[in-house]
């Protein structure tokens, strides 16, 4: 979501918003990111609520010079509004983090999983090449959750981006779409074979829907498309990650995450 925060009114659909202090300090902090990094666009991604403190996430996107899909970089900050890069997470424990239901505490050093391993050097014939992993901290859990949500949820309307002949993504003049699920696609490198083929054959240059469509997501009831009374402001919500909201009207589009960072793993039973 753009840091001018004009689009906050869409968030009111889920009853969330940013108060004045948050908005002002986030604007300053996000602008400050550009002091050290060069991005085409720096956006506010969302807020993950914790028990004591909240986390704010920003996203930097670089379109130019990237082949096939822009580069995304995430930044996080706690209530001190000082953004730092979101670190990589430990792959082994990351899967377990997805099904955790405890809320985030707000302290990023809080240890989520312990990884105490004792390596007995005398018994083994070979000395392991790497040291045992550090404990899995809450920051890594945050990192994993943010990247999961981005991968599974982040969506844009069809017709908002085009692929140039040099396979760069650019934003086009956006005219609005009707409120149907087929008009939305994932904002990630396509993983579906047919879309990858489209791009390989260069046909994607002429089509507005060259990224993975949301219609093919399983289970397909996870998306909820709603409009407001005017029928022009459309919001699209995900039920597996409650708190994710994508929005668009005739002039703008975007998405954000405002929630507690917990996945709704029981979703299939709830319908």
């Amino acid at each position: 979501m753009n840091i001018s925060f004009n689009d906050l009114k869409f968030l009111h659909q889920i009853g969330q918003t940013l108060n004045l202090e948050e908005r002002m300090r986030l604007q300053l902090a996000i602008l400050k990111i550009q002091e050290h990094y060069i991005f085409d666009e720096v956006l506010f991604w969302g807020r993950v609520e914790g028990v004591e403190k909240d986390y704010y996430i920003a996203l930097g996107i670089q379109y130019k010079g990237q082949y096939e899909f822009p580069l995304k970089k995430f930044f996080w900050s706690s209530n001190n509004y000082h953004f730092a890069e979101l670190p990589k997470y430990n792959e082994e424990f990351a899967q377990r983090a997805e099904t955790l239901r405890e809320p985030f505490t707000g302290q990023h050093e809080h240890i989520v999983f312990r990884t105490d391993e004792e390596i007995n050097f005398e018994d083994s014939l070979e000395i392991p090449a790497q040291l045992p992993a550090k404990n899995f901290s809450e920051l890594e859990r945050l990192s994993y959750i943010v990247q999961s949500i981005e991968f599974q949820c982040a969506s844009i309307p069809v017709g908002s981006y085009r692929l140039t002949p040099t396979h760069e993504l650019i934003k086009t003049t956006f005219k609005g779409v009707t409120a149907e699920l087929k008009n939305y696609q994932h904002f990630r490198q396509p993983i579906r074979k047919d879309k990858q083929d489209l791009i390989a054959r260069d046909e994607a240059l002429y089509r507005p829907d060259f990224l993975d469509s949301l219609v093919d997501d399983t289970p397909h009831n996870q998306w909820s498309v709603q409009t407001d009374s005017t029928k022009r402001n459309i919001t699209i919500r995900n039920l597996i990650w409650p708190g994710y909201l994508g929005y668009n009207n005739d002039y703008t589009f975007g998405y954000a995450y405002f929630g507690d960072g917990i996945k709704n793993s029981d979703f299939e039973f709830l319908l």
């Binding site: 009111h12 940013l18 405890e102 909820s224 009374s229 005017t230 039920l239 319908l271």
Partner: protein, 450 residues
């Protein structure tokens, strides 16, 4: 190749061919004094310009088409009309305590929740319109928003002076249906009244976790079986959430033991911010709902006294106006409520040496994520934004169905005692029977011989 090229050149668009367009373009590039076309980028601009500004002769519409021209329907007409109607609702006097939602929404926005000002205004007008409609209303407030798969629900809670007398089964509690709720899916449309719930429905709703679909009349197919449509489950969940989360600052209300009524305290002074920011300062306003699905315990006359006592112990009634400090703690947290402070935390003292504080306190319930109470030194509001489900710490485990009942034992068949006719010789069914028949015949033969 030449034929194809010729075809492309002759292709027609609104009376002009491509070839003509190129000629025009070339002419403009050379001759036009005002636009000096110099480079490749100018070529495109010029081409576009020519396309847009040339006069293209469109054929006249035939008589049929002109006669059948439909009036263009202004697409926003319905919306404008409804919005205007809602904004103009006014009455001389409304005899009800209508919540000042417009002001309280600003309070919510300060903690990161709430609606836009425009939506809050529409909600305020809706509150007014419902209060005008029914003169029995004492109290009306905006309850919150329940998210659903297809269309969300906005809910308004109302307290009446005379409740509707709908026929209910005997084991239901009238007091449970004290709060009445109206629901809509679009603020500009009309509000629907939710039906009352029975005790069995309340009991069953405790075991179901369900995401509402948005259709009030949808049948609920979950296990354990819930006898009712989505509107009944909606009402049950709303009641559960209200009875668990509606808070009031300590000292605002007083519970009269004799009349069992809640009344306003005579001298009420809003507790200080320091107290409001701890759990001591808040109490539960509505009564607790028992596991049975009622407020007071129901003594089923068909059950024995022992059983009743056991059930009563497992399901105790709690005292009214209980402090929230005593709520069952959620997981490793102390208590069930998370308290955060927003806004200006600077402590001031005014000229009478009294502390003055502008801070805003937000209380969040862990067990019901989405239920919040926000207060500053003058106002407070309780509201709910969520899907209507409890925070399940364990993965969903469906309830096992009852054990399959065993078939009853087969009763032995006895032949008819005094048959009119001689029964036919039937083949015996099993070896046992065959043996028995054999023995019986031998015994008879022996008897005859004797």
């Amino acid at each position: 190749m030449d034929v194809q090229l010729q075809k492309i050149f002759d292709s027609n668009y609104k009376g002009k061919t491509l070839y003509n367009h190129f000629c025009e373009l070339y002419y403009q590039m050379q001759e036009n004094k005002y636009y000096k076309a110099q480079s490749l980028s100018d070529f495109e601009d010029l081409s576009n310009f020519i396309k847009e500004n040339r006069f293209y002769h469109l054929p006249l519409k035939t008589a049929d088409q002109v006669n059948n021209l439909q009036d263009q329907i202004f697409p926003w007409q319905e919306y404008c009309k409804q919005q205007m109607q809602l904004m103009q609702i006014k009455a001389k006097v409304i005899n009800a305590t209508v919540q000042n939602f417009l002001k309280l929404n600003a309070l919510l926005n300060n903690v990161g929740y709430g609606f836009t000002d425009e939506d809050a205004y529409l909600i305020q007008q809706s509150l007014k319109s419902i209060a005008i409609r029914d003169s029995n209303i004492i109290n009306i407030r905006f309850w919150g928003k329940l998210f659903a798969q297809n269309r969300d629900y906005y809910v308004i809670e109302v307290q009446l002076s005379k409740s509707y007398k709908e026929p209910q089964p005997i084991d239901c509690d009238e007091k449970l249906n004290e709060y009445v709720h109206y629901v809509t899916q679009d603020l500009l449309e009309d509000w629907a009244l939710l039906p009352q719930v029975t005790r069995k429905q309340m009991e069953a709703s405790r075991f179901i976790t369900y995401v509402f679909s948005g259709n009030l009349n949808k049948e609920i197919t979950q296990y354990p079986i819930f006898n009712g449509k989505e509107k009944h489950l909606l009402k049950a969940q709303i009641l559960r959430i209200t009875h668990a989360n509606l808070l009031a600052p300590r000292g605002l209300y007083r519970f009269d033991d004799e009349t069992k009524l809640i009344t306003f305290e005579d001298e009420f002074k809003m507790p200080e911010s320091a107290e409001l920011s701890t759990m001591d300062g808040w109490v539960h306003l509505p009564p607790n709902i028992l596991k049975q699905g009622r407020i007071t315990f129901y003594e089923d006359p068909s059950l024995k006294e022992e059983e009743l006592n056991q059930m009563k112990e497992a399901d105790p009634e709690l005292e009214r106006l209980k402090s929230i400090k005593d709520d069952k703690p959620f997981e490793q947290n102390e208590g069930n409520w998370n308290i955060k402070i927003f806004g200006e935390t600077q402590q001031y003292t005014n000229q009478e040496e009294q502390p003055l504080s502008y801070q805003i306190v937000q209380l969040r319930n862990y067990l019901w994520p989405g239920a919040i109470t926000v207060s500053n030194s003058n106002d407070f509001i309780s509201i709910y934004f969520g899907y209507g489900n409890k925070n399940q710490q364990n993965s969903f485990n469906p309830l096992a169905p009852n054990d399959i009942q065993e078939e009853p034992e087969d009763i032995d068949e006895i032949p008819e005692p005094n048959p009119r006719e001689q029964p036919d010789e039937l083949e015996p069914d099993s070896d046992d029977e065959r043996r028995r028949e054999q023995e019986r015949r031998e015994a008879e033969l022996q008897q005859q011989q004797e």
